[in-house]
Symmetry: C2
Subunit: 708 residues, 2 copies
């Protein structure tokens, strides 16, 4: 006993050292011991893990169950023979599973079922699938239930993903700089690859698999052609090998002009046979190394990137040429619709639709067009993109930005689930009422969702503890676009902070995105950001080369009013939506106030639903935003002692930064709009801390993530 006490002490000490403090590295896979009663309940349904197949992915599933259930129950749960309370995992290749005659074929390549059954007279839980990766997903699902402290009794779960491509887009450069990254450097240590396989690569793949993400585009859409050279492909091959057993395929962003830059050709014209041949040979070279390579992501003729337009060819002609090279290998082309021409005078919000909608039906069958959630660029609030529903004969995947370029970087707590849910549940009215964006995505033969990754070398992966929730929520919504942001928040909070605090943590999260909208850009305002890095407010900026780079282009505030007239009397961007929506959104009386200034230029004196004038309402929204952050600070302070100290301190400090920056946003915008409107502050409103000139003078040249 003394001996074991000494051993316990040694363990206690080993675990107690600060380097062992919780720092967020474990993400939502913490597996800390549950309260005794819950632990006992879980343990009774998890006496052992039974696996008949030797498949690597199924081995990983078993290992994860043993690791997770051991951690949650505080007991050593390992592989063993069938017995009461066993967890039996596998596919029909396992005789024991096959004998159960489960409807596995109907689950598809990634689906699974988790069911309480009786095997050889013993009550057990079975996790079964048609393919090994389904077993892995099922294992993580069972662990999620246990982590939430819920019962493992009478389970009858059947799941299959609603979308086929669930991918992270990494805007990572070959020098490890991450464009719009706020979580350190790129996870990919190209200098040490392929020689060094950082264990973190495995942890990354495991975290993705735990939420159903099945693809990773490794490099920036503003792509270096060098990524397609043999020197880099050997490195990419190494990562693909590490990710494969976790069900994750690698993709690469392809620079359209690569045939010139690394191929020595004179042109990249997609209709030039030599160009097509070069891409075919390149695809063959890649698949010789990576048989399950996913394909290419392409940003073409956008923000200075080369593309088929340079040769008078259409996006379809460019995409289809690449698609032909990938087709024999089963790869796909993800072609971005995020385009706005350098010259076009047309409202930027209209350009993607104008350029792509006419191409509906012209894309090869292994091309999927990647459309941002909204028509501008990942703003805190945008209406859904008008292309959704408008290209019925073209597969569309939705691109969202997990990294918070426009929502306060890593230090602002902003849970994006509600923002994505808002878009996914939007009714496109195309072809008819009830056809939501989620349905549009799910119904196309090639389906998918892409998220611009927020992960990097920061110890907590995402730059903050709460930004992990956005990575998690993306995976959940890509698996099931109808999943609820509130349910996802509660699950994440229970897994990441503990079931006991899941509700208060989720409550904070659910109000956080509206808070950012309120203190940055309420009532449909957008793109008021400082130039380049987008850190902090710059509503006054009017000196950039292109009109549609300037905030004044977007808010159009003057002495009469504020807002972008996108009705028929203006740019008529609203006309790109289905008639029913165009009618509702085109009328300031019926458009939701949250989108008022997106679609309308409105007089300052206009009466709002609150009874306030627009000017009073605008100021009130800014004040509400700051108040909402203050409220979050209070809610978090109340959790001190109920979560581990190190992570609590980090979040507290970040909330203090957010509070100060919310005030900065509120003050700068109110000072500016008061000046352009020539209006005095409403009675009782606290004036900005500094004069407008002070805010205009703020310079933050080293803010992270700015493209270069």
């Amino acid at each position: 006993m003394l001996k074991s006490l000494g051993w316990m002490m040694a363990l206690w000490v080993a675990c107690a050292t600060p380097a062992r403090a919780e720092d967020g590295y474990d993400l939502w896979l913490r597996y800390r011991p549950l309260p005794a009663a819950q632990a006992d309940a879980v343990a009774s349904k998890a006496t052992t893990v039974v696996r008949d197949e030797d498949d690597e992915t199924i081995r990983l599933a078993a290992a994860e169950l043993e690791r997770g259930l051991s951690g949650l129950t505080g007991r050593r749960i390992a592989g063993g023979d069938l017995g009461e309370g066993a967890i039996v995992i596998g596919t029909a290749r396992s005789a024991r599973i096959a004998a159960l005659r489960l409807p596995l074929a109907g689950l598809g390549p990634e689906g699974y079922l988790v069911r309480s059954v009786t095997v050889e007279g013993r009550p057990v839980t079975v996790i079964a699938a048609d393919r090994p990766v389904g077993v892995l997903y099922g294992a993580f699902r069972l662990l999620r239930i246990a982590q939430a402290g819920q019962s493992l009794d009478r389970l009858a779960i059947v799941e299959r993903p609603r979308l086929a491509l669930r991918v992270l887009n990494h805007w990572d450069n070959p020098d490890r700089y991450v464009e719009r990254g706020y979580a350190g450097q790129s996870l990919w240590d190209w200098q040490k690859l392929p020689g060094f396989s950082d264990p973190r690569y495995t942890d990354y793949a495991r975290a993705n698999a735990s939420v159903g993400i099945n693809g990773a585009v490794l490099n920036n859409v503003n792509a270096s052609p060098d990524m397609l050279t043999p020197a880099f492909l050997t490195k990419v091959e190494r990562l693909a090998t590490i990710f494969r057993p976790w069900g994750i395929r690698v993709y690469l962003s392809a620079k359209f002009s690569a045939p010139i830059e690394i191929g020595g050709l004179k042109t990249a014209d997609p209709l030039d046979p030599a160009v097509a041949a070069w891409w075919r040979a390149k695809a063959d070279e890649i698949y010789a190394r990576i048989p399950d390579f996913g394909g290419f992501l392409v940003k073409a003729n956008s923000e200075g990137q080369p593309g088929p337009g340079d040769y008078g060819r259409s996006h379809a002609e460019g995409a289809n040429m690449l698609a032909a090279a990938l087709k024999p290998h089963g790869g796909v082309v993800m072609w971005r619709a995020f385009v706005y021409a350098h010259d076009k005078p047309e409202d930027r919000a209209k350009q993607a639709y104008s350029e792509f909608q006419p191409l509906d039906g012209k894309f090869a069958d292994n091309v999927i067009v990647q459309v941002k959630n909204g028509p501008i660029d990942f703003q805190p609030r945008e209406p859904f993109h008008p292309l959704f529903g408008a290209m019925p004969r073209t597969p569309l995947m939705m691109e969202v930005q997990i990294t918070k370029e426009y929502l306060g970087f890593a230090t602002h707590l902003a849970y994006l689930g509600p923002m994505w849910e808002e878009v996914l549940r939007s009714d496109t009215y195309r072809p008819r009422r009830g056809m939501t964006v989620a349905k549009v995505l799910a119904q196309s033969r090639l389906s998918g969702m892409a998220g611009v990754a927020n992960v990097g070398t920061d110890r907590n992966w995402s730059g903050s503890q709460f930004d992990q929730a956005n990575w998690y929520a993306f995976g959940r919504m890509a698996w099931n676009p109808d999943d609820r942001a509130s349910d996802i928040a509660r699950d994440w909070a229970a897994m990441t902070w503990g079931p006991a605090v899941a509700d208060p943590v989720a409550a904070m999260m659910l109000q956080s995105r509206q808070a950012v909208v309120d203190y940055m850009m309420p009532l449909g305002l957008h793109h008021l950001f400082a130039t380049g890095h987008h850190y902090g407010p710059g509503p006054w900026v009017d000196d950039l080369a292109r009109p549609d780079w300037n905030p004044v282009y977007y808010h159009k505030a003057d002495r009469a009013g504020i807002g972008f007239d996108r009705t028929r009397s203006g740019s008529d961007a609203v006309g790109q939506y289905a008639p029913a929506l165009a009618k509702r959104w085109g009328d300031p009386a019926t458009v939701p106030e949250d989108l008022l200034l997106w679609f309308h230029h409105v007089p300052w004196e206009r009466r709002m639903a609150s009874g306030r004038t627009l000017w009073e309402e605008l100021v009130a929204r800014y004040d509400r935003g700051v108040a909402e952050v203050a409220a979050m600070q209070g809610q978090w302070a109340a959790l001190r002692g109920r979560v581990d100290e190190q992570r609590h301190d980090e979040v507290s400090q970040f909330l203090t930064i957010q509070r100060a920056e919310a005030q900065w946003w509120r003050d700068a915008c109110i000072a500016y709009f008061a000046e352009v409107s020539g209006r005095a502050l409403p009675a009782g409103v606290v004036p900005p801390t500094h004069p407008l000139a002070w805010y205009k003078a703020v310079r933050t040249p080293y803010a992270p993530g700015n493209g270069r």
Copy 2:
């Protein structure tokens, strides 16, 4: 019992998860349980920690002792009352310490003593000092003894640092890019400072304190003037506050032209009263925030940096102007002697001496001139810098490069202790025989040693497990320049890998630096590196703008011979050394073969001590270098199972990379020198894997650390 068993299991599981695996974050402060016998011995001498003073630094010392001794013994060792085996810590402000009448005043501001004594009739160990920081250093010293598994009986240690300034120079930019950094981003997260105090800042300070480092220059010597703006000074202030209790002062690299760039002045002429006034005001501003600010580090008129030379003033005039601004506050100026003019045709190895030696005695008394260990630039082997011993009336500190810009980046195992020891023990013969570089440093009224830091955001701090040893060794040698590299290696290995493997680990380390010299640049060759990033071989490079940027300038190989004639018949750089050395090194017959080609251009047919010709010897050295790496791989493989798996795997993979890159260096250099010499490979030598053209074609544009 069952309950405690369950608890043990929970702990076991919590400790067993991979995220808890050893990743190197703990450095040499791991405090893992010692073997039972050693643990019992330590525990008997560490029953409790007794502290009477409430000083923050002394509290940290007590906490470190409790943490470390608890970890090492597996017992809970905490603060308590005096008893047998207690550890009593403090200064004379503690009545108990004062009563012992120890010679504390003689210890100076940073010295300490650790002594086995009897207090109130009980045998205890006392750690005492004149100042709190000495107590902290003493605590780490006692822990080092315990970590090595050595006895805490009959201790009688009296220590004081031989050098006053023991500083890390961080070549870190405001955007977190680290010039010549191979360990991730800068530790300083300027974007989140001052709002977020990353716990890692404390861990950094603690690690430095544990080896006696007492200063940190936070920013790159190629300095941004923005570092001196209020926006950054508030961030610097925060770091200074965190570092202070650990005995660490912050310094800043100052850009000499800052008065123009951020001060709005027309000139930065050091003799202009407005310029002097601006720097005085800036110093006052800094000290108002940071009362113990260390001072400025300046790189002037070197590699394009501005300096007093731009105004026809001397380095002394520039340094003294800054020194006058710092003087009232007790700050110092560290002025770098690393200069080589853009135009001067003079041998680059001579220029620092030519420019600075005549200034001896002209510097203010709070200026210390920072001289690199050798006359060129941190090459794998250089003779000591001729300025050491040549400026008797000027304080000189030695600058070494901990980060391995020229020794294989993070993936090559190269313990630098022997390199620094070689320089520190070099006899300058000035003013007389026996005056080693170490003595030159230690005797000056302002003394110090600076190391270009190798730490960054990588989890293991230094980019590799073994590079931690170079950080550690720098601290030890800065504290005592006569400390032995072999003793330091054994201490580090015991603390970092465990006492049981200390000898075999130290043995690998001690041969590693010579291995790098052999496979990169044997026999006094230097600067054969590829352009810019210095990653890989480029002995053929001859097309850079400045002659002394080209490897061919340094090796001067031709059909007749190889080497740089620095004798009287050549540049006479050897004439900058004391006559006795100039004579020995100036004669190819008496110069050490390791420096032969540094000082002499020698015919390929020359007979070497081995009996081989120079050409045969050169090839043999390259082969030996590769063989030495292979030997290290074998030694490390033998340690599998004797150290933790994750760190062992990482080192194994890095050694495989090093082996391949050693072969690359060997092959490329032999192929090149065979061509220029027109010589066939000696009989039995394995030819290079590829033809010379292949090596010349290698491009690695994304190699890290390149200045920008």
